[in-house]
């Protein structure tokens, strides 16, 4: 299969994801109507669907660790951030859920989402079993949302103060970079399934030949994606905190 054929045909029309997305859209409009910010919500749904049904998903499903990493980053950092941004200002969490809004829990959820699913056994399982993959997707979205809540919650008082937010984001960025560094330089395969993919789609020749992605190189790119571009996402969020800090008229809080 050529590259062109692959990118035109390898869309996985995952019915569950489509139905859930449709239900989410209906639910969003029923719950918030016009009070929300539907552009962000639409963006979240689009990115989510691209992540799970586009050819990237097919690649992540047993072929390329780096494609899996793109998926992983989108699901933890991009989709949940857009979801939180789409919430109306009046939105509040109810008591049992509010216990998840402690900064320490948020930080562990964000960093844990990166580390946990790269334990070799879990990473392998997620790349082979559809059920595990579905659990992974759900948990990544949830953990990403818990992480971003500290920074992107709808109302100012629900968020960390900007200096604390910078510390929160910077330490999370470093903790994930360490994983990226390990993945980049590891001489062994972290996710062995990607070393010898089962060639279901007949694309392996193209990947290894035309694209030049050997399994070593593939893991390196995966690690680097987690290290460099992901750090850029955190850096952007940190700059947003600086902007928020310098534009806020609120009395400054002690920044311990």
């Amino acid at each position: 299969m050529t590259t062109y054929q692959f990118f035109t045909t390898a869309w996985t029309w995952n019915s569950i994801a489509l139905i859930l997305s449709a239900l989410a859209v209906i639910g969003y409009f029923l719950a918030f109507g016009r009070r929300g910010r539907p552009v962000y919500f639409a963006a979240a749904v689009v990115v989510f669907l691209l992540t799970v049904i586009s050819p990237f998903s097919a690649l992540a499903n047993g072929y390329l660790f780096s494609a899996h990493m793109v998926q992983h980053i989108l699901l933890v950092l991009i989709v949940p951030a857009l979801l939180l941004l789409s919430l109306p200002r009046s939105f509040s969490l109810r008591p049992p859920v509010t216990s998840l809004t402690h900064p320490v829990i948020g930080w562990i959820a964000g960093v844990g989402a990166m580390w946990l699913w790269h334990a070799p056994a879990l990473c392998n399982a997620a790349a082979t079993s559809r059920t595990v993959s579905a659990i992974q997707t759900t948990s990544l979205l949830l953990m990403g949302s818990i992480f971003w809540w500290q920074v992107l919650a709808p109302r100012e008082e629900q968020r960390l103060s900007p200096p604390a937010g910078i510390v929160y984001l910077f330490t999370a960025c470093t903790a994930c970079s360490v994983l990226g560094i390990i993945l980049t330089f590891a001489p062994v395969s972290i996710c062995p399934i990607y070393q010898h993919p089962v060639d279901r789609l007949g694309i392996l020749g193209t990947i290894r030949g035309d694209w030049g992605l050997t399994s070593d190189r593939d893991q390196q790119i995966g690690g680097l994606l987690m290290w460099v571009p992901m750090c850029a996402i955190y850096a952007a969020a940190i700059l947003a905190q600086m902007a928020r800090w310098h534009s806020s008229p609120q009395p400054e809080q002690s920044n311990a």
Binding site: P163, I166, F170, C173, T174, S177, V178, I181, I182, T184, F185, A186, P187, V188, R217, Q220, I221, L224, W227, V228, P229, C231, A232, Y234, A235, I238, L239, M242, A243, W245, H246, P249, Q250, P251, E252, Q253, S254, N255, A256
Partner: protein, 744 residues
């Protein structure tokens, strides 16, 4: 007036033996941030002359082709010492000197948060510098370049003790630098005057505050690397020697993981000075304060992920090259933003072309050139051609001299009146400025061309190829102009100190708080602080009819965080960097199969038992803290004693484990596993031991004294943070070293 009395006092003091003795002791034993700042700068100036003379010898050797004025090995020692001296003993100390002197004044503080730690940092630097230069007498200076690449730096290839002196000296200086970084952060967070909120910090303070975070994260990584190379050299370890399974490339990663942030650590104080001087001499507030502040944060964050661009020629593989090329280009964006802000500040301003401003303008132009050649190195293909050529030498000298030294010259002329009470001579200043501009550009501009013609760096001589001769001669001639500039500067400093024009409190009509006190400031810095409502309090006083807009809200009731807490937390942050480097080094080798002992030799269940003791000691310490809060002396002493016993049991267990390994013939030099295992667990054990000593001190203090003092309380809490941290590190060491092999 004040200046007169200072000089009169000084002259009397020098003449009267009793007072002379007092003055000597006062400077040797000082913990005053102003004196320490001056000491830092004088040390920097002294080593600037040392490093400059080293450079002069190299340029003389290179003036003509096929020259034999210096031996090759002498030349190698010279460029190694020149680089190390200029970076660690000139640029960093002078920058830290400015911070030490100016930063507490700018935020209305009485001193740094930890005055004695401040003195400790300075003496670490001075003795580190002396240790480094002592190597010349002890068998030869290091001769492998300032980044000391392995395996060149290993015993088989460098058998003289030069590298050992180099590594120990930089380790000592690194400890001093980290303590300076911790002190800076704690000072800014905990010692600000009333009304000086974080959003109102002058840019000089803000940029150096951000810089302190880079310091405490980057320097420990270097220290971890230095510890490893010392273990290799002194204890026959294998970290960087391929023969024993080690990896020279790992040294490069460790070194540049420090080395690239280090570039920004050096240049940030320069940025900070320029951000202060340009507005004052343009008679305008800085253009886009927020942009300058935020771009500093962006640089600090990104600086951790760009070090690979120093290693394009190592053969890291194309994926790494591509990612590092892109991230290196990305970091140019916030840097460019700053240049635009400084330039825009000058537009429409009433610019006064005094010496500080002239230096800043030269800084802007030369730093932009340095930035452009810097970006060119982010392109992998171009880097392959120009790496280790004089093109690279020209690039980093445009940063180090063209930008940093010129900014420091601006800073010296700008703050000298505050420090001495007298202004420096403008005519002499202009002479040394123009000589410096001419000399610097004559020396280094041509080196771009030399590099592109193919002249490699670090060669002691070269054949007479077309154009190489006259270009090198021109470059050497420039050095004499720079030397003349430096001599005039020293002359200017000395004469102005004794005979300069009396400056008054605020000779430049500047706006930040250091100009609100006398010149030189009294020991306690301020008699009373002016009201602070914006970023330019003195402007508000001078122009009550059109003050700056109020920044943020006045929050008089804000209590600043305790400095002990901030200090220990930042210390823990820096220790995290140290242990992260050691753990990553362990993992780096763990994954490679090797002969000889491995993790299977370790007795996991027994270690788990001892680990439980260590974890339990965190709990007992917490109980002790609770007892202290409730003022129950007996219970507090009991829990604290139990904590110490548990910690000691853990250490005993570790000692026992070591003993058993030694008995079976496994020691640090056996193979790669044993080297990295003993290093990692040994450094953790050392931290536990230090923690135990501190806990014993507190036990003794609590036994002897009363516990009511709130100082005891906050210090005890600080020790608690450290103790818990040591336990948390053990969680990671336990998982990496003992548990991970079980999962395979």
């Amino acid at each position: 007036m004040n200046g007169m009395t200072t000089i009169a006092e000084f002259r009397n003091a020098v003449l009267d033996p009793a007072k002379r003795r007092h003055y000597q002791l006062a400077w040797l034993s000082t913990v005053d941030h102003k004196r320490i700042g001056v000491l830092y700068m004088l040390t920097g100036l002294f080593f600037f002359i040392v490093g400059g003379v080293e450079a002069l010898f190299m340029r003389l050797q290179l003036a003509i082709p096929n020259n034999h004025f210096l031996q090759p090995d002498t030349f190698n020692q010279l460029f190694t010492m020149h680089g190390t001296t200029m970076i660690f003993l000139v640029v960093m100390p002078v920058g830290f000197g400015f911070v030490n002197y100016v930063l507490p004044l700018q935020i209305g503080a009485r001193d740094m948060a930890f005055p004695r730690l401040n003195a400790f940092g300075f003496w670490c630097l001075l003795f580190g510098g002396l240790l480094l230069h002592f190597s010349v007498l002890a068998g030869g200076a290091p001769a492998v370049g300032w980044f000391s690449y392995a395996p060149m730096s290993e015993t088989p290839y460098s058998s003289t003790p030069g590298i050992d002196y180099w590594a120990i000296a930089i380790f000592v200086m690194g400890i001093g630098t980290v303590s300076f970084g911790i002190n800076t952060i704690a000072t800014v967070i905990s010692c600000r005057g009333p009304g000086m909120t974080m959003r109102r910090l002058p840019l000089f303070t803000w940029i150096n505050f951000v810089n302190a975070f880079m310091i405490i994260l980057a320097l420990p990584v270097l220290n971890a690397g230095l510890a490893m190379i010392l273990i290799d050299r002194q204890l026959q370890g294998h970290f960087f020697l391929p023969i024993g399974g080690g990896s020279p490339v790992l040294w490069q990663h460790v070194f540049w993981a420090f080395g690239h942030p280090e570039v920004y650590i050096m240049v940030f104080p320069a940025f900070a000075i320029v951000s202060e001087v340009i507005p004052v001499f343009s008679r305008k507030p800085i253009f886009g304060y927020e942009m300058v502040a935020a771009s500093s944060v962006a640089i600090a964050v990104l600086s951790m992920g760009v070090w690979g661009h120093h290693m394009f020629t190592v053969g890291m593989g194309r994926p790494l090259d591509v990612f590092f090329a892109i991230s290196s280009m990305l970091i140019a964006v916030p840097t460019g933003v700053k240049v635009l802000n400084w330039t825009a500040t000058m537009i429409g301003g009433r610019i006064r072309f005094d010496v500080p401003m002239l230096c800043c303008i030269a800084f802007l132009i030369q730093f932009t050139i340095a930035g452009i050649t810097g970006i060119s190195h982010a392109s992998v293909a171009l880097d392959w051609q120009t790496k280790n050529s004089y093109y690279l030498v020209a690039h980093f000298h445009f940063v180090a001299v063209g930008a940093i030294v010129f900014a420091f010259l601006a800073g010296i002329q700008y703050w000298f009146p505050k420090m001495s009470g007298r202004t420096m001579s403008e005519p002499l200043g202009k002479w040394s400025f123009w000589l410096m501009v001419i000399g610097f550009n004559m020396t280094f501009l041509i080196q771009h061309a030399l590099g592109l013609l193919g002249m490699p760096r670090r060669v002691y001589t070269y054949p007479d190829l077309p154009h190489w001769g006259w270009m090198n001669m021109l470059s050497t001639c420039g050095v004499f102009f720079m030397g003349a500039a430096a001599l005039i500067l020293v002359w200017n400093l000395a004469t102005s100190f004794f005979r300069g024009k009396i400056a008054g409190d605020n000779p430049w009509d500047a706006w930040t708080l250091e100009w609100a006190t006398t010149s030189p400031p009294p020991h306690e810095n301020f008699v009373a602080l002016p009201p602070i409502r914006s970023r330019r309090p003195l402007w508000d006083i001078a122009n009550p009819d059109r003050p700056d807009p109020i920044v943020g809200e006045n929050s008089a009731a804000v209590t600043l965080p305790n400095h002990n807490k901030i200090g220990i937390l930042t210390f823990i942050l820096s220790e995290t960097g140290f242990f992260a480097a050691l753990i990553l080094a362990y993992l780096y080798f763990y994954a490679r199969p090797q002969a000889g002992p491995g993790p299977k030799e370790l007795d996991v269940p027994r270690t788990l038992v001892f680990s439980v003791c260590l974890f339990a000691s965190s709990f007992t310490f917490w109980r002790s803290e609770v007892a202290l809060t409730k003022q129950r002396r007996g219970s507090m002493l009991g829990w604290l004693g139990l904590t110490i016993v548990l910690g000691a049991i853990f250490l005993g267990g570790q000692a026992n484990e070591y003993w058993k390994l030694f008995q079976t013939g496994v020691d640090l030099s056996t193979n790669m596993f044993s080297t990295s295992f003993f290093t990692l667990t040994g450094f953790h054990g050392l931290h536990v031991l230090i923690g135990l000593i501190v806990l014993l001190t507190f036990l003794w203090a609590a036994w002897e004294g009363d516990l009511v003092s709130s100082r005891f309380d906050s210090a005890f809490k600080a020790v608690g943070y450290y103790w818990h941290f040591v336990d948390v590190v053990w969680v990671f060491v336990l998982l990496t070293v003992y548990i991970l092999p079980l999962l395979r």
